[in-house]
Assembly symmetry: C2
Homo-oligomer: 276 residues x 2
């Protein structure tokens, strides 16, 4: 089993460079990010991955829906169109934090503390986005984020909550992401992975660093550099019926500073030893 490269792991690379890197390192799938696809051009990105014979394991990311704004909804419709063009296996949805709290920053004046309200907004937005995605053959992948990001990035905090949110829709329209960093601590994670079954739209791996760095967003480490025992999680995801690609997605200052080809080599080695 080979890993898929989530493009953010080799953040310095453009889409063209990352596609080339995957080919040189013998990988078969890549997870792309919207801003990089936009920088490369959507049509050109489509051409690059097709010519390289790569699968697009995910497009990152839609979401940030808690404000209830028309702008955010429209942007998600565009993201769905892009995922369709790219033939991405799913559009990863990071649903957003409390309204008025920009990701990684202090709350703005007049921000909201209404967590239940923010969660309800996500459910409401999904009722618009899921049918639209269905019509275009795109699968939304709801990503529960670690609870330390609840205020500013995702009020969706557990796999169980993601499955509840997905449940009104066919699993071809709305699935969930299992990301080891976000779920490893959850006492009910094995139960919820089994419950998820075919709802698992993406399995992403990276380690959880201890102690966390000063910017907690960058607490994602290369497999083996943190505290997660990957083998039982991978086993559970595969036993639940997941047959898709396994993306390595690392946000880490040291990884980003390193030579991307070195990162690719380490990633393949650690993936083989610890994840697969």
């Amino acid at each position: 089993m080979k890993p898929a490269l989530n493009q953010w792991t080799t953040k310095r690379w453009t889409v063209a460079e990352a596609v080339d890197g995957c080919v040189r390192h013998g990988l078969e799938a890549i997870g792309l990010w919207r801003q990089e696809v936009a920088a490369q051009g959507l049509a050109e990105s489509v051409r690059l991955v097709r010519d390289a014979g790569l699968r697009v394991s995910s497009l990152c990311r839609g979401g940030f829906l808690t404000s209830g704004s028309k702008e955010a909804l429209d942007d998600n419709l565009r993201a769905i169109d892009e995922a369709a063009e790219l033939g991405a296996a799913c559009l990863v949805m990071v649903v957003g934090g409390l309204p008025g709290i920009p990701a990684g920053q202090a709350p703005s004046e007049g921000f909201s503390r209404d967590l239940a309200g923010a969660r309800a907004q996500v459910a409401e937005a999904l009722s618009v986005l899921a049918p639209y995605a269905g019509e275009r053959g795109v699968r939304l992948a709801l990503e529960p984020l670690h609870p330390m990001y609840c205020a500013d990035r995702a009020v969706l905090s557990t796999l169980g909550q993601a499955l509840d949110l997905a449940s009104p829709y066919p699993s071809s329209q709305v699935g969930v992401v299992v990301d080891t960093f976000h779920v490893w601590w959850d006492p009910s994670v094995y139960e919820q992975i089994a419950r998820a079954g075919e709802r698992i739209a993406s399995y992403q791996v990276c380690d959880f660093l201890q102690p966390l760095p000063s910017d907690v967003l960058l607490g994602r480490g290369m497999m083996g550099d943190g505290v997660i025992d990957f083998a039982p999680l991978t086993k559970a995801v595969l036993e639940a019926g997941y047959t898709g690609d396994i993306e390595v997605e690392i946000f880490n200052a040291d990884v980003w500073a390193a030579e991307p080809d070195t990162v690719m080599a380490t990633m393949k080695e650690r993936f083989a030893a610890l994840v697969a």
Copy 2:
């Protein structure tokens, strides 16, 4: 309703000073810390709180049981004895992280990634500690900690998990702590508070700061300085039947640097406006 002072909020104060502070500010209860009680002397601490007519709302803390060591178990037996001497309403239990990861530090060589095993160790230790506590009239209060502390401080991560762990024992022997900082994000928190009912041994409040400071342990803020909506949590805890003291427990570099009497005044004001 008046807050109780958790001693760590005014960390500069000795037990004698904190007791005096509570009396001057008209508070009726104090949560003490073992190392401060030891510094003051146990008998002297008992005398101070009794003479001042204060309730001891909690003793912090027992726990760190995941290594399975005899030493840790013995230390917890001593903590139970101390809680009995002080007439504390409960002994707060922070159960410990993965074996070989010191709190707030990088993993030691040969640390364990066996999360399920660590959780099983806690259950096993509890089977020794709970009856001992029961004999001495002490109530253990299992504290689920925010999942970002799972690796190094507490493999007990949700209120639901704490209630499962407590369930074999009478609620007079083993209860749970509801601490707003640790549980505010939990999609099932209201359901679990209702389920907890008389198991709630302690209700602690402080805010969750956004963004988190570089040492995430110190992300606890004065009520109103963070993102938590306290009113519905307090309402749920009271509706579940909790009639004990409500402790304000803040770990925060700025709060610790401030004049303790100023902290006390702010705490009373914010508590009245936001929590009670």
